[in-house]
Amino acid sequence: MNILTVRDLHASYGAIQVLHGVDLEVSKGGATAVLGANGAGKTTLLRAICGMVKRSGTIEFDGQPIDKLATADIARRGIAHVPQGRGTFATLTAEENLRLGAVTRRDAKQRARDFALVYEYFPRLYERRAQQAGTLSGGEQQMLAVGRALMLEPKLLVLDEPSFGLAPRITQEIFAIMRKINREQHVSVLVVEQNANLALDFADRAVVLETGNVVTQGSPDDMRNNQEIQRAYLGY
């Protein structure tokens, strides 16, 4: 059973086509990693799923087509996207950033519970809650972005290079918490990641992109055992 099924997805920026018919799946409660070199179209793939670039093809989320929906409506269906660069509301406080994550929700009690959950996952955010979010460190902003995404009470968490620009220790910490979110909260995850080792340890399925096409996909073990793939795309 898939939470997300993408078929023959094309996407373009103006006249430049970036994705040429991508297929991708995320199983319910599972985690799919998208790997590939710079410029392979990984970020565009995530942006196309969330309606942030011009796209065509079929995208089915939780049994419903979402390829005609606008970004805000896709978010309301339960896809929380942590964009590249973290998408911090820099001029607002950390707590206001989290409140914005839950801005479309009406269930006050559940929301309060999720606030507590986010602060439990990221105690640092609790300490910094009154601080202007733009002044947080890179790691804290990444935590804030994941926390904001959780406040949406998502069924699918979409992460664009969560390790970008972070110290290895912080990256480990964030991936550990993402694993918890995946296992304990049963939130499915679609993650783009440069660090292939980290991504393959985390995911139950991997997709390798090259210049807008899927080169191969399968289990993390398939990827690790395929020497050609390793040499060409994963940097072993």
């Binding site: 969330c50 805000a72 996207h81 911090t88 001029t91 914005l100 994550g101 801005v103 733009g134 949406l152």
Partner: protein, 290 residues
Amino acid sequence: MEQLLHQIASGLATGGVYASLALALVMIYQATHHVNFAQGELAMCSTYLAWWLVSAGVPYWIAFVITVAVSFVFGMGIERVLIRRVERAPILSVVIVFIGMQFILNSLAGWIFGYTIQSFPSPFPEESPWGNPYINSHELGIVAVTFVVVGLLWGFFRFTTLGLALRGAAANSDSAALCGIRVGSMLALGWGLAAAIGAVAGMLIAPVVFLDPNMMGGILIYAFAAALLGGIDSPVGAVIGGFSLGVLENLAGAYVIGTELKLTVALITIVAVLVVKPSGLLGKVVVTRV
């Protein structure tokens, strides 16, 4: 001494109007980074609507509420129909649209209501409150209404979910959409609020400057100066800038340069702020760590 206090008090009153209009400018600037040159003419049109209602026998405060509500809807409509189309256009195109709108609204008002100067009623009593010699009822009323408007807005942005969503959309529209906020609706809402605030400002100043299609010309320049002085992205700054400028204008007019050159105060303020401290008194210099 009595003269000085009187000048300060009536400066605060006109300052309240500058503050309101500056607030409307800041609101649109925060959301879209556009400076709405037609804000004054929008306020003027709203004031004509109020005048028309009052002339038709509608009680003042009912006319006031209707005018604010209609202006709100009209402001939202302008965003939806017109501004949306130039949202991603180069800045000069946007400026031209605003200036065009300013002329259209100005001519439309003249065409419908004529260029004859009309008097506009004040809802406040004729005699000065408590018989004091410094401030008359209308001036005190302007200051009070300004504080009420500012208080309501502050509460809206600070405590309501919708206010938070509006701030989010202004701060980072991509992320706002990813949080499920319909950014287009938020921009329209911002325009509606700005038009409503402008309507209040127009109705407050009309009894003082009288009603004609060009009534807001000078006032808009003061509002620009107030918004810049306070920091073009700071609502609190706009209010402080508005009141300061009102007082400064009156004092300079009474003691330094004479009433004919009052407008110069606004222009000098604009130039001085841009040269000395472009971010204004309270404008945020945004710090971002990467």
